[in-house]
Symmetry: C2
Subunit: 323 residues, 2 copies
């Protein structure tokens, strides 16, 4: 295995300085109902209240603010049907950088509109016949654009790590921390902050049960690739971890857990009813795993990262009806 | 007109000391999307994130913490089908006071369960044939209980005033402030804080258009009584203001505005989609009125009190489908 340079906590600290005043320092919320149910102290880091509704803004803004003058002029390209698209589009607008976002032809109109609303130029592709990574690389090469991938990039990882840095600064020491896992940008960034600020804290990544490639990779020591999993957690439908994210996760994370879709909808309902928060299915992964480990967590101080709140409100209502 | 002793800002300050450490100091949230739409700075005081989901906890806890030893032993009685019931039940539990809550026979099971969950003894009555005020007074007299009405009580008013006190402390000076209006406890308490901390700030009460008794009372100078209005804003279906609340509102408030149900559902949708907050229809009154005055508010600093988030999640979904 050849060595690769991994980002460090110093990169997270630098990212924190870059995003300050641009990203929200999101609230850390507590609920006495939750604490009574857990017989523990639970701290929710509410990235659903981040700009554009998810933690993704942190990594995108950090990456784009490091662009050289030439890169800024030429522009950025990103591919995503979800939060990363909006994060890059918004960051680019704030920094005066032209943004091209590759989205599948059949992406929800609302998401395309949101991306355009943030000033991004949307280029569509057929996700059944075309390869978005190839199109992105072609666009980058032809027009001199800089491609910012959704998770396997050191500046993206460092930016995502700022959320957990803020959580430790506000909540103090924790015994266990639960973080949603898709491609691993958030989890690996969180790992950098956790190992620097709370070396003894157990750190768990949580992914949908239907797409447990991360768990299998973590346990086997090799990056496992899977087909796009069927799950309501659309932010965690990634098919594999990245090289950088896997290396950090393997080194710094204690275990990878999974949650079933019905646990996610139960958590969405609970967070809406009791904490008055709109959280997307992916955003509930950490809380769902913590709930199923409740016995072991008694008397502890627990962090739960709520990663985002971008769920179509009509879909939200429909999920609640079946929860 | 005989003179009545009205609570003052000193009472609000004393209430703030009593509730400290028991009530949440709720966050003041901002949204760049809202600020861009308004071309103004809008500060949302999020009482939907208060304990038991609404500002009502402030007033109830303040009132109950002033009980004498004898009153504590005998207990408290309250009548309410909504947030006041839960606020009294929870405050009583925290203070070790037995609570009896009068609720209509046909109150939603969820609300009865919530009240019982907070330790309250629920006594039901038939709202078509029985008079709850009479039953409450009878219970109070027979068993020596202290009756805490939902709004027309000086300690309740002073407690509710603490929310706006916190808003000014955090947001600084404001040019205009929009507060939901039902029986007037929140608005009159807010008026005490506003006149003490920001004498030049315009203060508006906002009630449902279908139940504009407050507006008519304010403009005519006499308390107008109406039938229970048909509106989705179930927290503002009061039939008349109180003697105390009316006197303060008449003296200190700049105007009473109204909002239609469809404006409330549009605001609920906006707050859920863009700010990831679950807000009950009544809680949207202030924001709805501010939106319809947008032209006049350009360039100003505006406060919006979001009063509560206690809406059944299935009803929430249904309201969103029709918004």
């Amino acid at each position: 295995m050849s060595t690769i340079a991994l980002p460090t906590y110093e990169d997270v600290q630098a990212a924190a300085r870059r995003i300050e005043g641009h990203a929200h320092r999101t609230p850390v919320m507590t609920s006495r109902t939750v604490n009574e149910a857990f017989e523990a102290d639970v701290f929710f880091k509410c990235e659903n209240l981040q700009r554009m509704g998810a933690f993704k803004f942190r990594g995108a803004f950090n990456a784009l603010s490091k662009f050289s003058e030439a890169q800024r002029k030429a522009g950025v390209v990103a591919f995503s049907s979800g939060n990363h698209a909006q994060a890059v589009a918004l960051s680019a607008r704030l920094l005066g950088i032209p943004a091209t976002i590759l989205m599948p032809l059949d992406a929800p109109a609302a998401k395309m509109d949101a991306t355009r609303g943030y000033g991004g130029r949307v280029v569509t592709y057929d996700r059944y016949t075309e390869d978005r990574e190839q199109i992105g690389q072609d666009l980058a090469r032809e027009h001199g654009l800089t491609l910012i991938p959704p998770y396997d990039h050191e500046d993206v990882i460092a930016g995502q790590g700022t959320a957990v840095k803020e959580l430790f600064e506000e909540a103090g020491e924790l015994d266990a921390l639960f973080v949603p896992l898709g491609g691993g940008g958030l989890l690996s960034g969180s790992a950098l902050s956790t190992r620097a600020l709370a070396p003894g804290c157990k750190l768990y990544g949580v992914e949908p049960e239907a797409g447990n490639d991360g768990q299998r990779s973590f346990r086997s020591g090799e990056i496992v690739h899977i087909d796009t999993p069927q799950t309501i957690a659309d932010g965690a439908q990634t098919q594999h971890l990245g090289l950088l994210t896997f290396a950090i996760i393997r080194r710094d994370v204690d275990d990878i857990l999974t949650a079933r879709d019905e646990e996610l909808t139960a958590c969405m309902r609970f967070l809406a009813e009791r904490m008055k928060l709109v959280v997307e299915p992916t955003g509930c992964l950490g809380f769902a795993a913590a709930r199923s480990m409740k016995q072991q967590l008694r008397g502890k101080r627990i962090g739960v990262l709520v990663s985002g709140g971008n769920v179509d409100i009509d879909r939200f209502g429909a999920l609640m009806r079946n929860a």
